[in-house]
């Protein structure tokens, strides 16, 4: 178990390096460079040269990456080349918004997905068909499109919830809740159906397992069979799908934040992309990669708790 966690952490470091290195190395392929893109095609060559000097673009790529890495290790991710704001502090203010979106969406996907999938495997029939149709729609329709539909129906028409904007929890918990309801629903719809489908398939398979028949044949009651034995043994593939869904949500959050104009990491990254603001993109990349690492670590721990073979090893 400990070895598993250690192993995961050991592979996380190359992951962080690879993600940031890719962005760095790509810069070498660009015709022109950041200074030119910032100032535009018609800029005065001297101004461009000065900016290039200021941004350190004359240094070789390797030493620039080394500098960035050394800074990052000390908590300094540089400053935005557009606004001059410290990247670390703008990540800090925006992380809360993105987490307010991600954490409830992940929890909702887990709870609602497992409950729906379990119910449809045990009861079958109508609920299963509803899940099939909704998950087909969730697969086919982009999440931002579903988000706009929710806005059109629930915010614009019925005027039940705010269509855009974000209220921090500290300011007003009630308004915070109202501001995240629609984004969370839009973000988790795909997750709920994906987890529900996996749970249903996995539970249905365990229900046919020899040990379920054996325990039932020898007198173990239905409630204990379902809640202890079936749920426990069906859990591992469900945890895997929860992990994939959670990592997918990191991407989904970028789109959903843009639809609802939430001041999170997603909108920050989108703006930085349009502005060619490499330090900011690198900063967001570090945070999202760390998020992937945390999710994977949680999944590994869940595997360890669920699978006695891993725990015993």
């Amino acid at each position: 178990m400990l070895r598993l966690i250690g192993n995961r952490i050991a592979t996380s470091i190359p992951l962080l390096l690879i993600v940031t290195l890719i962005v760095f190395v790509l810069q070498a392929f660009v015709p022109g460079d950041a200074a030119r893109t910032i100032l535009g095609e018609n800029a005065n060559p001297q101004t461009v040269a000065a900016l290039r000097e200021q941004l350190g673009l004359n240094e070789p790529l390797v030493s620039r990456y080394g500098d960035w890495l050394a800074g990052a290790l000390h908590g300094d991710l540089g400053t935005s080349i557009i606004s001059g704001v410290d990247v670390m502090s703008s990540l800090d203010t925006r992380l809360g918004v993105t987490l307010s979106l991600l954490v409830p969406s992940m929890l909702l996907s887990a709870v609602a997905g497992i409950a729906l999938g379990f119910a449809s495997a045990v009861r079958g029939g109508f609920l299963g068909r509803v899940i099939d149709v909704v998950s087909l729609l969730g697969f086919a329709l982009p999440s931002f499109w579903i988000a706009l539909l929710l806005v059109a129906a629930l915010a614009e028409r019925a005027n039940l919830l705010p269509a855009t904007g974000y209220t921090p929890f500290a300011e007003s918990p009630g308004d915070w809740l109202r501001s995240i309801v629609l984004p969370v629903i839009a973000l988790s719809l795909h997750g709920i159906t994906a987890v529900a489908k996996q749970t249903r398939d996995s539970v249905a398979e365990v229900l046919e397992a020899d040990y379920v028949r054996f325990l039932r044949a020898n007198g173990v009651g239905t409630t204990s069979l379902l809640l202890r034995h079936v749920l426990r043994n069906a859990a591992i593939p469900v945890v895997t799908s929860l992990g994939l869904v959670s990592i997918g949500m990191l991407s989904g959050a970028v789109f959903i934040e843009n639809v609802f104009v939430l001041p999170g990491l997603g909108t920050l990254a989108t703006q930085a992309t349009l502005d060619h603001d490499v330090p900011v993109i690198l900063g967001v990349g570090v945070v999202l990669t760390l998020a992937v690492i945390v999710v994977n670590l949680l999944i590994d721990i869940a595997y360890g708790l669920l699978n006695p073979k891993v725990r015993a090893a």
Partner: protein, 647 residues
Amino acid sequence: MTTTAPETPTALPAAADAHRGILRSVLRTPRGSIAGGFLLLLILATLLAPVLAPADPLRQNLHHVLETPSSRYWLGTDSLGRDLLSRLLYGGRPALAGVLEGVLAQLVVAVPLGVATGYLGGRFDRFVMRVCDIVMSVPTIVILLGVLTIFDRSIAAAMITLGVLSAAGTLRVVRGAAMTVRQELYVSAAELLGLGRVQIIFRHILPRCRGVIIVQTSLFAAVAIGIQTGLTFLGLGPPPPSPTWGGMINESAVTLSRAPWLLVPAGGLIALTVLAFGILGDVVRDVTAQSHTSSGGLRARPASGRRAPEAPVEVPGSEAEAPVLLRVRDLDVSFLTPHGEREVLTKVGFDVRAGRTLGLVGESGSGKSVTARAVLGLLEANGAVTGGSVRFRGRELTRASRKELAAIRGTGIALISQEPMVALDPSFRIGAQLGEVVRAHTRMSRGAARRRVLELLEMVELPDPEEIVTRYPFQISGGMAQRVAIAAALAGSPELLIADEPTTALDVTVQADILALLRRIQADTGMAVLIVTHDWGVVADICSDVAVMYAGQVVESAPVEDVFARPSHPYTAALMAAGPEHAPRRTPIKAVEGTVPPPGDRPAGCRFRTRCPLAEADCAEQEIPLLPVGEHRTSRCIHTAHLEARR
């Protein structure tokens, strides 16, 4: 945007299919032809956009803004009065181009590396897999935004990057397929014949991987369309006013409250395109999968349409001895299969007497295990008892409620099964599982339950019970697992134990121990046993009575000594031809010429006649009833006299 997990196909493409041409097989299915046709139309329509589009996609007409569909604007107009249909057609070009770029990038990386790692293996393989692990956890969106930060609005660069990143999943699937092909005989043969590696890859490996490659490509295309529209939705693609699908959705957001219709055309077309790619992938997987698992369509069916019972055949002298504990009469069981309803058991009947052991004997496919499960009401979800009766101590079980059945399981009738290693829940310690079974029968404290568990483990002669209870099922041997299973079955002090091939999966030496244990427990407790077996050695060892099954019927039942002395059905005789005195004990029954006909393919009249040496014309004329052939004996044969004559 969604990132779907690349699914690993469970089966390999069949060689025959690969040669027949996947495309033709796909287009022959309705789903495949619809999805393929739609995609073909879409590609043609976008290519021919300059010819087909009713208007210039950029031409504004401020007199006709936000219109709903009309004969002039088939799909309506946007906030600048531009024709939506024309914009959709032109917007399809970058969308499909993006998919193509991504697909090509993915194939270029995944196919050569996948085939090479799968075929060559070794250190190279381990290194590539390690890199794949890392790449698969890279958050795709970060890299894509990074690419777009540097390559200004270049969706092509983003899609190529997406293709390379997604190649890790495809690479694994291709590698898996290549590994399986590599182990096949004809590839080894080709290697022995001195064919070079490159030739083997192109001649044998690649053609067999074609199926999985197409499946992966279609599923990737579905994801790629989602990403392309997502990036253009964020405004990272070609700048306005050039039409893109994502951009059109973004533009519709501004006027959402006034003109919700605007969401529909672009969203609908994206959804249809994603679905078409997804369905195409599914269909190719189905077409190329070797074993088509179709149990998904099966449904449980109510036990209805009971038929009138066959006239009861009372075995002469049957009431004389120990009371009948379990009486099965005219039991019909059907399964709902993809090919329709199949009757698996037909009018099965036998008695198990208190304290005695009945052996249900037959080849595989004869219906003996289904009979054992049907007695306990534990058929698979697609099976149902359609007629007849199962009476335990005079109580009808086929019509018993769930609750009544639950009360009988374990305390009245208990079960041990063929595969002891899978009969125990892998996630719980042995002590916890046994404790649960014990407490299911009698309310008691945890401490008392623990003492009872240790007592049971001693009863089944397991050394060191204190240690066994702390182990998980995967930490004990098959023989030990069967003893634990027997302990669980004994927990409720059952009157009848159903043992479904209890020794088949075990080593020969362990088999004898388990049978000895069952005999001893039976002597101590006086419980009756119904044992399912195909092994005459087991029958000779433990049974007092025998019921021989063939193709879903009981064809002979008799006390064990009589069967061994003088079989009264040609099937029994054939089964015994290589029987206990000629063959080593406890070896599987020597195959009788031919196989048991599957349900739905059984001959009319006597079901054994197609394999029977005594068959005559009258065997086909009618269903053969069970006929008394002496004291305590019945046989489903009208020519038993001939059998006597041949001896």
